[in-house]
Assembly symmetry: C2
Homo-oligomer: 433 residues x 2
């Protein structure tokens, strides 16, 4: 078999066999198939796509490129939750302890955020002492002891994915559905969890800008999961406006804690309940979704979810005194309300523009080695559908200086549109696949 | 400007600017843009194509990657003839001396053959002493003195083409019309000739398998030529069956010599006259094509074309006693007639299958460093439309052993189809662009 023939076959739109895909990924991972052939292959996949069976083969080949965790000696079912990323998306910090507190273990490997999305690990690391870089043994121990663990992505799992992603990033081949789906699912599968809920976001602040593309990605990922014998469901949720009110790393941790204490914003609570219910029902811990939701609501109200969150943070070295007293988190030096110069109903607020504003303040990173500023960000005061008078605050800017705050105001104005007549808040969730 | 953005723009089907194409080719040629980005770029071009202006920009950027010859101090007009390659295509060895003998200088740089096509240089090198590796100064001197020179492709001209072609060859991006057209034309333009006839072949034995693709390639090349101010025409000629009767390196030299002596096969003579007439008319040496053809016919008949061929071979070190006595060329050890087992009219003979058979005997090379066997090949006894009786020879096999000859017979049978009713010979030339 020759790499060039595999490329030519895919270029012609023919489905590749499992043997061909394995040959290519294994050769690439070992450095025997050079980057230039992998780049041409990725571009051919961009144009010609892959059938479900090919995407399953691709995912399995990437999984086989490294070590695979087996968690079945710890628990027969371990849950995982993955989000394709969005502005203000702190859902993992709410769903994971909520589900774990009902007795369903949650083990999650999480990537770092690039661009204007901070990753869950970036957010958790704003709690002093918290450590996400766990060894496999530490990961297993934490899961066994607490029933909840969130670690950074291990370099030993699915190494071909990291190599392929780095290449795609510089060759214009990121935006390929089968490549995105196999990249995400290979890491989930290698991590050994067997009950996975995917939060696939669509809209201006998401990677997938429209519902159609997001739906196709969700189907592709669910098909991969089923193809390798895992329980998987995908929830298509809107990212037209940011989720919750906080955008920024420690600001989002504080909002997650408040939510676990029963004081969270409605959309965040609702999304956490929807995602958590899917996990409980899929795992067999609840007979149906109604039952699952009731159990989660009780767990939240009882304080058990917050207790689970604290136990998890403590297990990974975090100082839980910060969680009991949120005022201990350092605040950004310059805080300023951003006030409306007009009255009306908020018709839309562009999540992407708001995300870029927070990124500009220092909440995100351009390259992997950049440090993020934990304190900066935005606290929304109003969301789509809210009524606003002239002078009402639209959001609070948390910046390190007046000039830094000033630098984002022009673009923040661009994020809003208003209506003189009442506006319906957009739906939070479209479909569940 | 970033290479990845140029790739993404092309991936989206947008035309690139001259500045973007120059940036990419210059960066690639200097090694600043890595092979993996160039491979992704080439695959995007494969799928999205290029507009004529982009193809001109690409060609010019490749030309600028190296040295450019300027031949205007030797002659105001220097002619060149290029073929996209075919089985039994020895036309250059006939057209070039024929045209040069009328007084129009011909300067040609010729690539080596890969696959089952031997290149013109491979064929000429079967004449003992002939040397195609000329310095620029030797090329200019030969052109000035003899008015005819054929050299191997200089490494100094259009080096980015060699680099890009090597990459395309292993990344499944050879079959892209703008990349093929710019590759051919960049070498022609860098070589300094200003009156170019392109023999674009179509059919089973050609690189372009159908007339439609060949026509598109011809248009693209002519547009490039005009875009950079050269006189160019393309002749679309059929390669459904081999050209002439000889297939194999020294066998083809002998056929070319016989043609220059007025004893050539009809299709080869006709194609040489058509191509040569285009050059004479384009250069202004003849008022019209009828005039040009008459002049070429006279030149052929007078023996002047053969004399020019001998002067050219002598200038480049070749032993012309071989040309005056063709029996001096070594013959292959085993020669055998391949006889028909049925009667009828030859309906088709697959040039590709015949080319592969000659290649199997050793007439072609798999990789650049392979040696070719000058003596082996096939001499056709019949062509399409000819009437055959059982036992008539279809062709003569020139092999180095009985077993080598036997090894190709099965596939030779596959090359022929027969008809019980008379068959029209296929047209030699379709259109001239």
């Amino acid at each position: 078999m020759r790499a060039v023939d595999v490329i030519i076959k895919k270029r012609g739109g023919e489905p590749l066999t499992d043997a061909e895909i394995s040959f290519f990924i294994e050769g690439f991972n070992r450095g025997e198939i050079p980057d230039y052939q992998a780049a041409a292959f990725a571009m051919a996949v961009f144009f010609k796509g892959m059938e479900p069976a090919e995407t399953v083969s691709l995912t399995q080949a990437i999984v086989r490129s490294g070590h695979q965790l087996d968690l079945r000696d710890i628990a027969p079912v371990v849950a995982d939750k993955h989000s394709t990323g969005g502005v203000g998306d702190k859902t993992t910090m709410v769903v994971a302890p909520l589900v774990a507190a009902t007795g369903l273990p949650v083990g999650k490997m999480s990537g770092r955020g690039l661009g204007y999305f901070g990753g869950t690990v970036d957010k958790l690391e704003t709690i002093p002492g918290f450590r996400a870089a766990l060894s496999e043994e530490e990961f297993r121990q934490a899961l066994a002891k607490v029933g909840l663990v969130v670690a950074g992505q291990s370099q030993d799992l699915a190494p071909a994915d990291g190599k392929l992603y780095a290449l795609r990033d510089v060759t214009g081949t990121v935006e390929s559905l089968p490549l995105i789906a196999s990249s995400i699912m290979s890491k989930k599968i290698a991590a050994g969890t067997n009950c996975i809920v995917l939060d696939v976001k669509y809209g201006k602040g998401a990677f997938m800008k429209n519902l159609e593309d997001a739906t196709a990605l969700a189907h592709a990922m669910v098909e991969i999961g089923h193809g390798v014998g895992r329980k998987v469901r995908a929830v298509l949720s809107s990212m037209e406006q940011p989720l919750g009110l906080a955008v920024g790393n420690s600001l989002e941790v504080k909002e997650a804690v408040e939510t676990l204490q029963g004081r969270g914003p409605g959309d965040l609570v609702e999304l956490a309940l929807i995602l958590g219910s899917q996990l409980l029902e899929m795992s067999g811990r609840s007979l149906n979704l109604t039952d699952a939701r009731r159990k989660l609501e009780e767990t939240l109200k009882s304080g058990a979810a917050f207790e689970k969150f604290k136990a998890f943070i403590a297990q990974q070295g975090g100082d839980i005194s910060y969680l009991d007293d949120l005022s201990r988190f350092p605040l950004a030096a310059h805080r300023e309300e951003f006030r409306s110069n007009r009255a009306g109903y908020i018709k839309s607020m562009d999540a992407e523009t708001i995300g870029i504003a927070a990124y500009t303040l220092g909440a995100g990173r351009k390259v992997k080695t950049d440090a993020i500023d934990p304190a900066v960000g935005l606290i929304l005061r109003k969301k789509v559908g809210d009524k606003v008078e002239v002078g009402d605050s639209l959001l609070e800017i948390h910046a390190q200086s007046q000039s830094q705050a000033d630098s984002i105001k022009e673009s923040l104005w661009q994020a809003y549109t208003f209506s003189d007549t009442p506006v319906q808040a957009p739906p939070l969730v479209d479909t569940i696949i």
